[in-house]
């Protein structure tokens, strides 16, 4: 076997029957078993070492963590009980879920429309828009924080519209920062969809919007979910904007956690244990979200590709 193989997959594919699922997994196998085990093992170790550390620290006493102990002398679950009163995590988690969730949904909805137009239509400025979508991501957040804040706060002064301190302000900000990338994910996804159905519908007199909602949308769930997850994580993890634009009622979990994590000047030992416990609790919703969507995410991507 040499590397000068000339495979003609297109030609030979015709000869193959649809394989059963067991066979299918044999066919799509990309690596030998031993290598799969090695790769997964090494990466799992790489990822899990610090995670195990977090878990152990979340059950440890603060002074022991500060000393650099790995294994807790005494396991204490107290940290998990205390975070709800000390960190204000419940309120933060709710705000995070609402803001990040709304960001994910709306950015997916907006980006599919934008991407559809960019992929299927020709118009002046199209290329500029597509380039700008990526270029906009190079604008540093540290440059934008102050101007965005000035702008939002002046909306209260001049328009009587209070944005700072509400979830709306955060939502709009995250939505906007999520859009370029979400749109790109959708652009790349929509390019892969066949056009025949659309054309048929158009001949039947469907409007562009009708085609988008009735034909494109049902086929696009995998792309929508991918872009939605990215948008969600953007809102979930941001601290820079959230710390400036929220107040105690609207603060997100990330801010609540950071507030808790930051020890004040000349203070005592930070509550490492509670911090780690809170970090795990904050990560949990996203892990569940992913587990829930994984089926759609992966299965959907395949379905969209084949049929």
């Amino acid at each position: 076997m040499t590397s000068t193989l000339a495979t003609r997959p297109g030609a030979s594919a015709v000869a193959v029957d649809r394989p059963g699922s067991r066979q299918q997994s044999q066919v799509t196998r990309l690596l030998p078993n031993w290598l799969i085990v090695v790769v997964i093992g090494v990466l799992a170790l790489f990822v899990l070492a610090p995670v195990v550390y977090i878990v152990l620290a979340s059950l440890n006493s603060d002074i022991s963590v500060a000393r650099g102990d790995f294994w807790p002398a005494v396991f204490t679950p107290d940290n998990y009980a205390n975070i709800w009163t000390n960190v204000g995590l419940a309120n933060g988690l709710m705000n995070s879920i609402i803001v990040a969730g709304a960001t994910a949904i709306v950015s997916a909805a907006l980006s599919i429309g934008t991407a559809y137009v960019l992929v299927r239509y020709q118009f002046f400025g199209r290329l500029t828009i597509m380039r700008a979508l990526l270029a906009l991501q190079s604008v540093p957040g540290t440059l934008l924080v102050l101007p965005v804040f000035v702008l939002f706060s002046s909306s209260a002064t001049y328009l009587g519209l209070q944005v700072i301190g509400t979830r709306w302000g955060l939502f709009i900000t995250y939505l906007t920062f999520a859009l370029p990338f979400s749109t790109w994910v959708m652009v790349t996804y929509l390019r892969g969809l066949p056009k025949e159905l659309e054309e048929a519908a158009r001949i039947d007199g469907a409007t562009s919007f009708g085609i988008l909602t009735k034909i494109i949308l049902p086929l696009s769930w995998p792309g929508i979910i991918v872009s939605g997850i990215f948008a969600f994580l953007l809102g979930w993890n941001d601290v820079l904007f959230a710390s400036v634009m929220t107040n105690p009622t609207s603060q997100t979990a990330a801010v609540a956690l950071q507030i808790f994590a930051t020890s004040t000047e000349g203070g005592a030992i930070p509550y490492y244990g509670q911090m780690m416990a809170s970090a795990l609790v904050c990560a949990a919703p996203v892990v569940f979200l992913y587990l829930f969507f994984q089926k759609y995410l992966v299965g959907g991507l395949t379905a969209g590709g084949v049929k």
């Binding site: 000339a6 193959v16 559809y116 540093p140 101007p147 000035v150 900000t173």
Partner: protein
């Protein structure tokens, strides 16, 4: 390229054809001489180049629903463009703690901030550090992400769990990641202890020259799952027929990977590369929490520098000027890159 292979061969042919067709990508239909094998390449792998670059018969001009661009456009103008312009305007003002209260009336000083930024600050040092660290971290994270995607491509018991585990670093908020690693890297911490028990003395991780590599290491840990996700999506897009074909041909796994599968990943990976680079360049939280301020000289990254200038020294004008200069320094290579990868050249793709 000595090996002839249909999948990659087709792509090269297509690319050559497109190059020959002239510089303005959107102008005319490009004819792809070879249609067959990859005609149904779908989904995300199509982001950057399409083998079958044919423009179909488009819908009539007046039906274009361009209004769908408006909501996103308006948002971006309000939340990114206007603040950006405002930021640029601020960079021309003598804006500091003394003038902030009536910032609109702050003295206009032209490019004085820019001159100071270039001549009296560590701006270029910061730009160089930011770009080089981003590049190294992105380049190393890429094979890791791809390997993980390839290894979890096939169903096996517990795959869902493995995939979720892989995403943990991406899910944890940056400052949690930074705090955890800082705790682990500190002198007398768990990593330091481990090195010493092996008889090695690596020196300090959070101060001095090692900081640069500490940062890269943590950044890789935190961001490889992003590459993994995009690579995974790209892999899902590989047609079943392609798998079947190469299985029939009995190709060795690495031959199949190299010549059949990887070409499909080029699009998502290029996208991941750009986004990864930009995310790293603008990453503020990680270095800030890992090393604190003032930052050690070896990790005086751009975002940290601008942050300190504006939120510690209150030189908002100067800080804005620094950010604008760095934006230009980053945007130019970015733009060249966008052209080189012919990101926007891909016309309507998918199968005919």
């Amino acid at each position: 390229m000595t090996t002839s292979n249909s999948a990659s061969g087709t792509r090269h042919a297509a690319r050559a054809a497109r190059r020959a067709s002239g510089p303005a990508p959107a102008v005319g239909p490009t004819n792809d001489p070879d249609e067959s094998p990859t005609r149904s390449v779908p989904a995300i792998s199509e982001g950057f180049e399409t083998p079958a670059g044919k423009r179909g018969r488009g819908p009539s001009e007046r039906n274009r629903p361009l209004w769908m661009l408006i909501p996103g456009g308006v948002l971006m103008i309000i939340v990114i463009i206007v603040p950006l312009l405002l930021g640029i305007y601020m960079s021309l003002l003598d804006l500091d703690q003394y003038t902030l209260r009536q910032w609109i009336e702050a003295p206009f000083i032209g490019i004085a901030n820019y001159i100071e930024a270039v001549t009296q600050t560590n701006l270029f040092h910061g730009v160089w550090l930011s770009v080089s660290y981003s590049f190294i971290a992105t380049v190393i994270a890429m094979p890791i992400g791809i390997a993980a995607a390839v290894a979890t491509q096939n169903a096996f018991k517990g795959r869902a769990v493995v995939r979720s585990v892989f995403l943990i670093p991406y899910i944890l908020p940056s400052f949690v990641v930074a705090t955890v690693w800082r705790t682990m890297f500190q002198p007398g911490g768990i990593i330091d202890k481990s090195f010493h028990s092996l008889g090695a003395d690596p020196g300090l991780f959070l101060n001095g020259p090692n900081t640069y590599w500490t940062l890269i290491f943590v950044q890789i840990w935190a961001s490889w799952p992003f590459i993994y996700l995009l690579a995974l999506a790209g892999l899902q897009a590989v047609d079943h027929e392609v798998h079947e074909a190469s299985a029939l041909d009995g190709a060795l796994w690495w031959t199949k990977l190299r010549y059949v599968i990887f070409p499909y990943l080029k699009g998502p990976i290029s996208l991941a590369f750009i986004i990864g680079m930009l995310n790293h360049i603008n990453n503020f939280t990680l270095p800030f929490v890992l090393f604190g301020i003032p930052a050690p000289h070896d990790v005086e990254l751009l975002p940290v520098l601008t942050y300190v200038t504006s939120f510690q020294s209150f030189r908002f004008g100067l800080s804005a000027a620094m950010a604008v200069v760095s934006l230009i320094l980053i945007a130019i290579p970015l733009f060249i890159y966008l052209r080189v990868v012919k990101l926007d050249e891909a016309e309507q793709g998918g199968r005919k």
